[in-house]
Subunit: 555 residues, 2 copies
C-alpha cells in the first residue's frame, strides 16, 4: 500500500481558461490506473492561430497510456469541457460517463464522429457511484450556468478528492439543482484529501449573485421597450435563456429563438427533462408577422462571433428579420477578455441602425456562473480539504487562489498544464513534468501548434509573399529571365517603378553574372534569390517579405 500514489495531472485548463482536461491516477508509480475528467476545446484567434477552427489539449501523453485509462467523466456540457470528446474518443477508447443532459450533448458530439450511443453512459447523481478501476466516482449536483453541472467526488484507497468542476453558490439557480451546502458539508465530513477547484472568479471580491435576481430587472426592461427586443446570451446558459424568455412572456411578448445552438440547447434541455417549463416559442416564420412591440428574440452570438445571429442582425437581415430605429438589444452576458473588438463592433453597427444597446455594466442583467472569492472561501470551509489545488484559471488566477488558500492555513500549489502533482502525502508535491501543448483542428485535419504551419501563415500575413520562378536547362543555363508574383504586397515602392519589374531586373542581373558552380546548385540559387528579393524589398518598400523560390530544371 505504501507504494501506491494518487496523482493529479492537468493536460489542459490550468494556466488558461479553456480546453479543460484533468487526469487523475492511482496505483504504483509508473503503473497507475487513470481517469480523465473533462475533454474540452478552446477557441482560436487571428493573432496566434489564424485559420484554425478549434484548439484541443495535446492528449498524446494519455493516448500513449490508453491501456491504463479506465474512464472519461464529463462534469457539464460547456464546450470547454465536452467539446473535444468526439475528436479524441477514438484514440482514447475509454467509456464516457455523464449525467443525462451532459450525456445528451456528448452523444451528439460522438455521433458526429461516427461513434454510437453506447459510448456514453448516463449516470445518476450522488450517492450513485461509477466504478472505474481503482476509482469510485460520483457526480455531485452543483449550480453553474448550464443544467446538471456536477462536481466529482473521486474516491480511492489512497484518499478522496473533490473536483469542483465549474460551479457557483446559487440557492435559486432557475434551472438545475440549487447549491446544496448540507451535501457539501456531509461530503467534507467524510474526509477530503484534496479539493481541485475552479479559479475563474478569484479576483471578484463580493459574494456571487443568484440567477433569480435577474427576472424582475429583465421584465422591467422589456416592459419599458417600445419596439422589438432582442436579447443575447450563451445558448448553453439554459437558465438565462429561461429567465429571459419568462421575463419577456410576463411583459407580454412572443418569444422566438434564433441561432442553431440556441434552439439545440433548449431542445436538449426539454428532451432530458431538465427544463420542465419554458414559455411557448413562436417559429421564425411566425415571428415575422408578430408586431415588433409584441416580439422578443433570444439569439446567439453574445461574444461577437461573426457568423452568429447577433452579428448577422447587426450587419443586416437574419432569417428575414432586420433591426430598426427604436429597437432594443440586450447583452445579457459578460464579454470574455479578448472578444471586446467583436462585441464593440456589433454595438456600433446597432448604433448606426438606431438600436439602443443595454449591457451588463450596471449589473442588472447578468450574473456570473462561477464562484466569487468569498464563495471559494466558503467552499473550502464546507469541504474542509487538507489541500486545495486551483484549476480552471490563467496563471494569475491559480496563483491568487493558491495564495488565498495558504492564507487560510491550507496547503496549496500552483499547478499548470503538465505538472503532475502527487497528492499522496500531507502536502501537494510536483511528481513529474509531462510534455503538453495544443493541437489545432484545421479544416478536417489536426495539426500541431508548433509544427510551423500556423507560423508560416502568420508570417505571410505580416510580411506578404514573393513567389519567384526560375527555369534552367540541363546545363544550368537560365531559360529566359526569372520572374515573380507578389501576394499581399504593394505594387510599387520607393523608385516608383513596378516592384515586380525592379525585383526581376535585380534577379536577372544576378543570374547573368552567376558562376557555373552556383547555377548547378538549386539550394544556392534559392538562397541567393531570396537574399536579393528581401534586400530589394527592404530598399523599395521598407520590409522584408516571405520568399518562395521555385527552381525548375528541364532535362
Amino acid at each position: 500500500m505504501s507504494t501506491q500514489r494518487l496523482v493529479y495531472l492537468p493536460l489542459g485548463g490550468a494556466g488558461e481558461i479553456g480546453m479543460n482536461a484533468y487526469v487523475y491516477g492511482y496505483g504504483p508509480e509508473g503503473r497507475e490506473r487513470y481517469i480523465l475528467v473533462d475533454l474540452g476545446v478552446t477557441f482560436p484567434d487571428m493573432d496566434t492561430s489564424p485559420g484554425v477552427d478549434l484548439i484541443f489539449p495535446d492528449m498524446s501523453w494519455l493516448i500513449e497510456r490508453k491501456d491504463r485509462l479506465d474512464a472519461i467523466f464529463i462534469t457539464h456540457a460547456h464546450e470547454d469541457h465536452v467539446g473535444a470528446v468526439g475528436h479524441f474518443f477514438g484514440e482514447l477508447g475509454a467509456p464516457v460517463y455523464a449525467r443525462a443532459f451532459t450525456a445528451n450533448i456528448a452523444r451528439r458530439k460522438l455521433s458526429e464522429h461516427g461513434h454510437g450511443d453506447k459510448a456514453v453512459t448516463t449516470v445518476e447523481a450522488y450517492p450513485a457511484k461509477v466504478d472505474a478501476g481503482p476509482f469510485k466516482v460520483s457526480f455531485v449536483p452543483v449550480s453553474h450556468s448550464i443544467p446538471e453541472s456536477a462536481s466529482l467526488l473521486i474516491e480511492t484507497e489512497g484518499g478522496r478528492v473533490f473536483h469542483t468542476g465549474d460551479f457557483k453558490i446559487d440557492h435559486e439557480p432557475i434551472v438545475g439543482e440549487p447549491f446544496d451546502e448540507a451535501l457539501w458539508e456531509e461530503i467534507g465530513k467524510g474526509g477530503i484529501k484534496a479539493m481541485i477547484c475552479d479559479s475563474t472568479n478569484v479576483f471578484s471580491k463580493s459574494a456571487g449573485r443568484s440567477e433569480s435576481e435577474l427576472g424582475d430587472n429583465l421584465e422591467m426592461l422589456v416592459r419599458g421597450a417600445e419596439s422589438l427586443v432582442v436579447a443575447t446570451t450563451f445558448a448553453s446558459n439554459v437558465a438565462r435563456v429561461k429567465t429571459l424568455a419568462e421575463a419577456g412572456e410576463r411583459a407580454g411578448r412572443s418569444i422566438c429563438l434564433m441561432g442553431r445552438s440556441m434552439r439545440r440547447m433548449v431542445e436538449a434541455s426539454i428532451e432530458t427533462g431538465v427544463l420542465k417549463s419554458f414559455p411557448t416559442v413562436v417559429s421564425i416564420e411566425d415571428a415575422r408577422s408578430v408586431p415588433r412591440e409584441n416580439l422578443m428574440l433570444l439569439v446567439t452570438g453574445s461574444q461577437g462571433e461573426r457568423r452568429a445571429a447577433s452579428a448577422q442582425l447587426a450587419r443586416g437581415k437574419f432569417n428575414g428579420i432586420s433591426l430598426k430605429d427604436g429597437d432594443l438589444f440586450l447583452f445579457s452576458s459578460k464579454t470574455i477578455p479578448g472578444n471586446e473588438r467583436g462585441v464593440i463592433s456589433i454595438i456600433n453597427q446597432l448604433s448606426v441602425k438606431g438600436v439602443d444597446v443595454v449591457d451588463d455594466s450596471d449589473g442588472l442583467y447578468h450574473v456570473s456562473g462561477h464562484a466569487n472569492r468569498p464563495d471559494l472561501a466558503k467552499a473550502q470551509d464546507l469541504i474542509n480539504p487538507a489541500m486545495v489545488i486551483p484549476m480552471h484559471g490563467e496563471h494569475r488566477h491559480l496563483r491568487e487562489h493558491a495564495r488565498m488558500t495558504e492564507d487560510k492555513g491550507r496547503q496549496s500549489i500552483v499547478a499548470v498544464n503538465g505538472m503532475m502533482i502527487d497528492l499522496s502525502g500531507n502536502a501537494p508535491r510536483v511528481a513529474e513534468y509531462v510534455e503538453t501543448g495544443r493541437r489545432y483542428l484545421d479544416g478536417s485535419t489536426q495539426i500541431g501548434a508548433l509544427d510551423g504551419i500556423v507560423r508560416d501563415r502568420i508570417r505571410m500575413a505580416l510580411n506578404g509573399l514573393v513567389v519567384v520562378t526560375v527555369i534552367l536547362d540541363e546545363d544550368g543555363e537560365p531559360l529566359g529571365d526569372p520572374w515573380c508574383e507578389l501576394k499581399g504586397m504593394p505594387e510599387t515602392g520607393r523608385s516608383k517603378a513596378g516592384l515586380v519589374e525592379v525585383l526581376e531586373e535585380d534577379m536577372s542581373q544576378f543570374l547573368g553574372r552567376a558562376s557555373e558552380k552556383t547555377l548547378v546548385n538549386d539550394t544556392k540559387i534559392e538562397e541567393e534569390l531570396r537574399k536579393i528579393v528581401r534586400r530589394t524589398c527592404q530598399d523599395e518598400i521598407g520590409k522584408k517579405p516571405e520568399v518562395s523560390v521555385i527552381v525548375s530544371r528541364l532535362q
Copy 2:
C-alpha cells in the same frame, strides 16, 4: 454674405476613437477656405490589418483642395492627434500651428520626414489669435492627460465654433493648466454657434476625478511594497509620470525611466518648460546597482505593446534588469478595448515570475483624461452653444452624446467621417457626403485599406497557400508534370498520402486529358488547376486554400 457657408467635415475620428482629422471650411459654396484641426494616426491589429505599421485617415479629399487650405492646427501631442502630421505635411503644404510642447513633438515628427523647423509655428494661448484665411483661431488651454492641451476657438464672420479637442474638467491637473471655468464661460458669452465636442467618456456616469487624487494612493502603495516597484502608464501622460515619480520619491525610492518614449516625453516636457519640477532620475546603468527595495521603474507599454518595456520585462530581461518574486508591477492606466489580450498576457507572465500586479480596478491608481457625462453637460452649460456636434468617439458614443445634447434642448447631429455638416443655419444640416477611408503605412509605403493587399494577407493567413507551377513548350505540350508548394498548410490529409503528391497526381491527370484548346489558353489552365487544387484540398483537409498558378511557356 448670405452665400457664405460655415462647414465642419470630419475625415477621421468621428465614428472611431483614433486618427483625428477635422476640417472646417468657410466661404461661398465650392470655394470655401479650409483649416485642418489635428492629423493623427490609429493602430493596426492582426484581425483587420496584419503587417501594417500605422493607419492614417485618407486625406485625398483635402489634398485635392490643398490650394484652399490655410493652416493646420494641432490641439495636443497625442499620437491620435499629431501622429500623421509628418506623413502628410509634404502633400498638404500648409503651415502647422501648435502650442510650445505640441510644437516640439510635431517638429520632431516633421524632421523625421525631412521638413525643417519652420514648418511649425509655436503659438501663445488665448487670447492670442492666429489668422488663417477667413478664420481666426485661438488655443484655449484645457486640462487633459498631456501638457498644453488646447480647445480651439475658431472665429469666422459666419459665427464662432468651439472645438474642444480632448479634455477633462480637472482643477488640479498636476501638469498643465487647470480647467478654467471662468474662461469657458467668458468665451461662451461671446456667442458660440457650434461646439464640436469630445465624446470618449459619454457612457461614464459619475463626474470625472482629478489627477491630484492619485498621489497619496500611489505613495501608500509604493511604501507598502517590499521589493522593486515597476509602474507603467502612457509615456505621453506626463502628469501621471510626474505623479508616479513624486509618489515614489516620497516613498524613498530612486526613480528610473525606461522605454524610449518615456524618456523622450519627459525630455520634451522639461525642454519646453511645461514640467518645472521632476524628481531626479537615475540612469538605467545606475539603477542596476540600486537595491531593489529602493528603486522604482517607470516604464512604457501599458497597453501590452509587444516591443515596449513592460512586455520585455514580463518576458525576461530588459536593459539588464529582470523581475523577481516579490516585486510589484502597477498598471496606472486603463486597458483600451481591444488591447486586453496583450495586457493579460503580460500579467500572466508576471504571475509566473511571482510578481504582484496591481491595476486600476479599484479606481485608486488611475483617472481618465476625458470628460465624463456630467462634465460634458457642464461644458455645454459653460459654452452655451446653439448646437453640439459630437466627435472623438465610436458611433455609439456620438449617438449617445447627440441624444444627451438633444435632451438638454440643444441641436445636435451624429456626424461620422465624411459627413460635411453645414453649421450656417440654426441647426446642423448634412451638406454633402465626402469619400473617406483609411490609408495604411506598410513598411515605408502607403497602401489603401481597400486595394486588396491586406485582404490577400488575411486570406493567406486563414486558408494557407498552394503555389502551382506548370511549364509548357511552344506547342502547348506540358514539359514534365505540374508541381506545387504548400505554405501554411498541413502536409497530409484524409488519404494519409502527402498532400503535395495527391495534388500533383490530380493536376497531372487533368493535363493528360486536357484538350489542345485548353492547353494553349493560360487563363483556362490557371482556372482549371485552381479548381482542382481547391476541390482536392477540400476533400483531403476540409478547407480551400488560396492558389497561385504560374504557367510558364518556353519559346
